[in-house]
C-alpha cells in the first residue's frame, strides 16, 4: 500500500508539472496563431526529402505569422503513395496538416500514368499545390568499369555498366533509362533497391556501378566517399545551367549531345522533361485559402532569409528556386497537365519495357 501511495504521489507531481508546462492557447488574428502545423513527409527519416523538409520546418517558424508549433511527421511507404493517400483521405482539411513531399512522381502517375496500378487514390487535380522547389538530380558512374572510365566517351565502350534503380515504374528509374537510351548507352538494369542508402551501399560494393540521386545525396555522401577518392565520377545533372560543384558532370542535354552527337528530341526527351522532380508543400482539398496564402507568404519571405539560404546551400548544394505563386506552380505543372494521352501510352509502354529489361517479365 505504501508503494502504491508513493507511485500515486509521484504521478500527481508529474501531472502538475505537465499542466504548468503547457503553453496557454489563445485564438487571434493570424491564421496559424496558437495552432499546430503538421508537415507530413512522404519518405523515411534521414533521406533527402526528410532533410530538406526539416530545414523548411525549422526556418518556417520565423516566417509564418502567429508563431505556430510546427511538427514534422514521417509517413513513408509505397514510394510516397501512402502519404499522398493519407493527406487526401485522412488529413484534417483545416490548414493544420500539409504535406512536405517529393510528390512529383504522384503527379506524373496521375496525369501520365496508371494511378490505380500503384494504389494512388488521391485525386491529384484536387490537391492544392502550395509551394514547389525544383530538385536537381546527379548521375554518377564508378571509374572501375571495364575498360576503366576516364571520360564521358568511355561510357559507350563499357562492357559491364550495371545500373541500379528502385522499380521500373518509378520516375527516378525512367529518367536515367530515358537518358541512357537517348545517348545509346548499353547497360544492365537491376531493380529492387530501397532508398538512396540501399543504392549507395550496392554502389560501394560494386554490385552496381551507376547511381543517381539529388544534389544533397551527391554532395554530402557520394562525393566525399567515392568521387573525391577518384573511385567515381559525376556524369550528368538535371539542370540547364552549369553547376560548377558537380563538374566534370554536364547538364543532361549536353550529356546526350556529347554521346550521341545530336541534340536530344522526340518522345523520349519529352518524357525526360516530364520526369522533373520537386520538393513540394501540398494541402488537402478544401483547405482555407487563408492557410494557403499564409504558407506562400512565409515561404516567399523565407527564400530571402540569408540564414535559411546559407543552411540550404550547405546541405542541398544549390540555391533554392522556390515557386510560391500560382502562376509559377502552374508553369511547373504544365509538362504533366498538357502531356496528353499519347505520352501516357508511350510512358506505360516504356515502363513495361523496363520491367522486361530488369527480368521481371
Amino acid at each position: 500500500m505504501k508503494s502504491t501511495l508513493h507511485v500515486l504521489s509521484t504521478c500527481a507531481v508529474l501531472v502538475l508539472a505537465l499542466l504548468l508546462a503547457t503553453p496557454a492557447m489563445a485564438a487571434d488574428k493570424p491564421f496559424y496563431q496558437g495552432k499546430t502545423l503538421r508537415l507530413v513527409i512522404d519518405f523515411s527519416a534521414g533521406g533527402p526529402t526528410d532533410i530538406e523538409c526539416r530545414i523548411y520546418a525549422r526556418h518556417l517558424k520565423k516566417h509564418l505569422k502567429g508563431d505556430p508549433t510546427i511538427v514534422v511527421m514521417s509517413k513513408p511507404g509505397g514510394g510516397g503513395t501512402l502519404a499522398m493517400n493519407w493527406i487526401y483521405e485522412r488529413a484534417r482539411r483545416n490548414g493544420t496538416v500539409m504535406g512536405c513531399q517529393t510528390a512529383s512522381g504522384r503527379y506524373q502517375e496521375w496525369f501520365v500514368g496508371d494511378p490505380k496500378s500503384v494504389g494512388l487514390r488521391a485525386n491529384m487535380e484536387e490537391i492544392i499545390p502550395v509551394m514547389f522547389t525544383p530538385v536537381v538530380s546527379v548521375g554518377v558512374v564508378s571509374t572501375k568499369l571495364d575498360p576503366p572510365y576516364k571520360q564521358l566517351g568511355d561510357l559507350k565502350k563499357a562492357k559491364n555498366l550495371t545500373v541500379g534503380g528502385f522499380r521500373a515504374d518509378s520516375s527516378k528509374d525512367l529518367k536515367f533509362r530515358a537518358l541512357f537510351d537517348l545517348a545509346s548507352v548499353k547497360y544492365k538494369y537491376v531493380t529492387g533497391y530501397q532508398g538512396s542508402a540501399g543504392l549507395l551501399s550496392a554502389f560501394l560494393r560494386d554490385e552496381i556501378n551507376y547511381v543517381d540521386g539529388s544534389t544533397p545525396f551527391y554532395l554530402t555522401r557520394v562525393k566525399p566517399i567515392a568521387v573525391d577518392k577518384g573511385e567515381a565520377s559525376p556524369l550528368w545533372y538535371g539542370s540547364d545551367e552549369n553547376i560548377p560543384a558537380i563538374a566534370p558532370g554536364v547538364p543532361a542535354r549536353d550529356f546526350v549531345k556529347q554521346l550521341s552527337g545530336k541534340d536530344p528530341e522526340g518522345p523520349l526527351w519529352q518524357l525526360f522533361q516530364i520526369l522533373s522532380s520537386y520538393r513540394q508543400i501540398l494541402a488537402p482539398p478544401g483547405v482555407p485559402q487563408a492557410a494557403v496564402d499564409a504558407m506562400r507568404t512565409a515561404f516567399a519571405s523565407m527564400s530571402k532569409d540569408p540564414e535559411f539560404l546559407a543552411e540550404y546551400k550547405k546541405t542541398v548544394g544549390i540555391e533554392p528556386q522556390m515557386l510560391t505563386t500560382p502562376k509559377g506552380i502552374e508553369n511547373a505543372m504544365k509538362p504533366w497537365t498538357t502531356a496528353g494521352d499519347e505520352m501516357k501510352q508511350f510512358r506505360l509502354k516504356y515502363v513495361e519495357q523496363g520491367r522486361k529489361q530488369a527480368g521481371s517479365k
Partner: protein
C-alpha cells in the same frame, strides 16, 4: 589519433556538453522504458533541438539518449513482460519469469551490469574495427544479406523452442504474413483481402506487443494476485551483479556478436537480441539451466548484445554514409546538418567527432547502469503491486505503443489478432519468437533475393564463397537443433 581521442574526451566532459549528455541519458531512460517508444522516436524528437548546438553538445545529447535505451528497456521487459524496445524482445523470455519468481532485482542487477559492459565493448570494437571492417562489409552483397536472413530465421526457429519443426514452420508462416501489401518489385498488391490498411504490410510493433504482452495480461487477469507469484522477494540486485561477473565470458561473446551483427545494415538491430539468446541456449553446457523459466543467462546474453549493437550499428553510418536503420538515418541527418560528412572525413580530419560519439557511448552506458542500479529495489517493488492496478496501465501502454505504428485503428486490430494468436501459441507451447522475427525479416529477405537473382542470375548460389559458408552454417544449425531434440526425447 590519441590526440583526437583526448580532445574529444575533454569536449564531452566540458560543461554544456556533459549536461546535454546527462539530459540525453534521462530521456533515453524514458524512451527505452515506455513500450512503443524507442531510440527512433527519441532521435526524431531530439533532432530539431540539436540544430543550434555545437557538434560535441549535439552528439552528447543524441548519443546519450541512443546509447542507453537498450539498458532502460529492460525495466518493462522484466517487470511487465512487455518489450520496452525491439532490442529487448529476447529479454522477456527469462527476465519476466525471474520477476514472477520474485527475483526482478536480480535480473536488473545482471542486466545493467552486462549492458554497461556490452556498451563499452561495442564502443571499443567500433574503434578497433573501422579499418578492418570496411572490406568485410563491402564483401557482403545482396546474396549474402539474403542468406544472413535465412540463417537468422533458422537460428531462431530451430533454437528458440524444443520443437525445431514447429519453430521453422511458424517462421515460414510469419514470412508469408510479411508479404501482405505491395510487392517491392512490381508494386502489385498481394494478400490484402481488399483491406487498404494491409497494403502497407503488417506493422511490426503491434504484432510483437500482441504476441508477447497481451497473453501475459490475460494470464495476470486470470490468476489475479501480483506479478510476482511468490510472497517474498528472492535473490536481490547484488546476486544479479555476481551472476553477471560469473558469466563474463558469455557476456563478452554476446557483446562481440552484438557489435558485429549490429553493423549489418537493415538486419542488425532487429535480430541481435535473438541471435545472442540463441547462442546462449546453444552453447549452454549446464544441465540444470532451464531457459524460459527464469535462467539468468537468458537475460545476460541479449542485454549484453543489444548495448554492444549500438556501437556496431554506427560503423556503416560513419564509414560509408549508409545508415543501417531509420535511427541511424536520423543521426546521419544530424551529421549533415552540422556540416559533417560521413566517410573519410570522419575518419581523418574530423576524427574528433567520431571519438566524441564513442566517448558519449561509453560514458552514457556507465552512468545509466549506476543510476538505474540505485533505483532497482524501488522498481522491483512494482512486482508486488496487485495485478488489478497494473493491468490497466500495461494495457494503456501496449495500446498506445501499437498506435504509434501507423496511427490507425487497424494497428489495434492487428494487436488484438496477434494477441489471440500469441495466446494460443503460448498454450500449445509453440515458439513465438520466429513470428516476430519473420515479420521483420520478410521484406528485407525478399528484397535481397530479388536483387541477387536479377543481378547474378542463380549462379550466386554456388559461386560465392561466403554464400556457401552461410548455407552450411544454416544447415548445421538446423541439424544440431533436430539432433539435440531427438536426444532429449530419447532421454525421457
Amino acid at each position: 589519433m590519441l590526440e583526437a581521442a583526448h580532445q574529444a574526451l575533454l569536449g564531452i566532459l566540458s560543461w554544456p556538453a556533459f549536461g546535454y549528455l546527462l539530459l540525453g541519458v534521462g530521456l533515453g531512460v524514458f524512451f527505452g522504458m515506455v513500450p512503443g517508444l524507442s531510440g527512433l522516436s527519441g532521435m526524431a524528437i531530439l533532432l530539431p533541438f540539436t540544430f543550434d548546438l555545437g557538434p560535441y553538445e549535439a552528439m552528447a545529447l543524441l548519443m546519450g539518449m541512443y546509447a542507453i535505451t537498450s539498458t532502460a528497456d529492460t525495466i518493462s521487459s522484466v517487470l511487465l513482460g512487455v518489450p520496452g524496445t525491439a532490442g529487448s524482445q529476447a529479454t522477456i523470455m527469462d527476465g519476466y519469469p525471474l520477476a514472477k519468481k520474485g527475483e526482478a532485482a536480480r535480473a536488473f542487477g545482471a542486466a545493467y551490469t552486462v549492458s554497461a559492459f556490452g556498451g563499452v565493448v561495442g564502443a571499443v570494437l567500433l574503434v578497433l574495427s573501422i579499418p578492418i571492417l570496411s572490406p568485410l562489409v563491402l564483401s557482403f552483397g545482396a546474396p549474402e544479406f539474403f542468406l544472413l536472413g535465412v540463417l537468422g530465421m533458422a537460428m531462431v526457429g530451430a533454437l528458440s523452442g524444443n520443437a525445431p519443426a514447429k519453430g521453422i514452420l511458424v517462421g515460414l508462416f510469419a514470412l508469408q504474413l510479411s508479404m501482405m501489401g505491395y510487392s517491392p518489385q512490381d508494386g502489385i498488391p498481394r494478400y490484402w483481402f481488399n483491406t487498404p490498411y494491409l497494403l502497407e504490410g503488417l506493422p511490426i510493433v503491434p504484432c510483437v506487443l500482441g504476441l508477447f504482452s497481451l497473453p501475459e495480461v490475460v494470464e495476470l487477469a486470470v490468476r489475479r494476485g501480483t506479478l510476482a507469484e511468490v510472497p517474498e522477494m528472492g535473490k536481490g540486485m547484488w546476486d544479479g551483479v555476481r551472476d553477471a561477473l560469473r558469466n563474463w565470458w558469455l557476456a563478452l561473446r554476446c557483446a562481440v556478436i552484438g557489435a558485429y551483427v549490429g553493423f549489418i545494415p537493415g538486419l542488425g538491430a532487429s535480430i541481435v537480441d535473438w541471435v545472442a539468446y540463441g547462442h546462449a541456449v546453444q552453447s549452454n553446457k549446464d544441465p540444470e539451466a532451464e531457459f524460459g523459466k527464469g535462467e539468468i543467462r537468458g537475460v545476460i546474453a541479449p542485454e549484453s548484445a543489444n548495448n554492444a549493437m549500438k556501437g556496431g550499428s554506427l560503423i556503416p553510418t560513419i564509414a560509408f554514409g549508409v545508415p543501417g536503420s531509420a535511427t541511424m538515418a536520423i543521426l546521419l541527418g544530424a551529421f549533415l546538418i552540422h556540416g559533417i560528412y560521413p566517410g573519410p572525413e570522419l575518419l581523418s580530419t574530423r576524427l574528433d567527432v567520431t571519438f566524441s560519439v564513442i566517448w558519449a557511448l561509453v560514458i552514457a552506458n556507465i552512468i545509466t547502469a549506476v543510476v538505474l542500479m540505485g533505483c532497482t529495489n524501488q522498481l522491483a517493488k512494482v512486482t508486488t503491486i496487485r495485478g488489478s492496478l497494473i493491468i490497466p496501465i500495461i494495457l494503456v501502454l501496449v495500446f498506445m505503443g501499437s498506435w504509434m505504428a501507423t496511427q490507425d485503428l487497424g494497428d489495434w486490430v492487428v494487436l488484438v489478432s496477434a494477441g489471440a494468436l500469441g495466446y494460443l501459441m503460448k498454450r500449445w507451447g509453440w515458439p513465438r519468437p520466429p513470428i516476430a522475427l519473420g515479420i521483420v525479416l520478410g521484406p528485407i529477405m525478399e528484397r535481397y533475393l530479388d536483387i541477387a537473382v536479377s543481378r547474378y542470375g542463380w549462379s550466386w548460389v554456388w559461386q560465392r564463397p561466403i554464400v556457401i559458408i552461410l548455407i552450411l552454417v544454416t544447415l548445421a544449425t538446423v541439424f544440431y537443433a533436430t539432433r539435440s531434440q531427438s536426444r532429449q526425447q530419447q532421454a525421457e
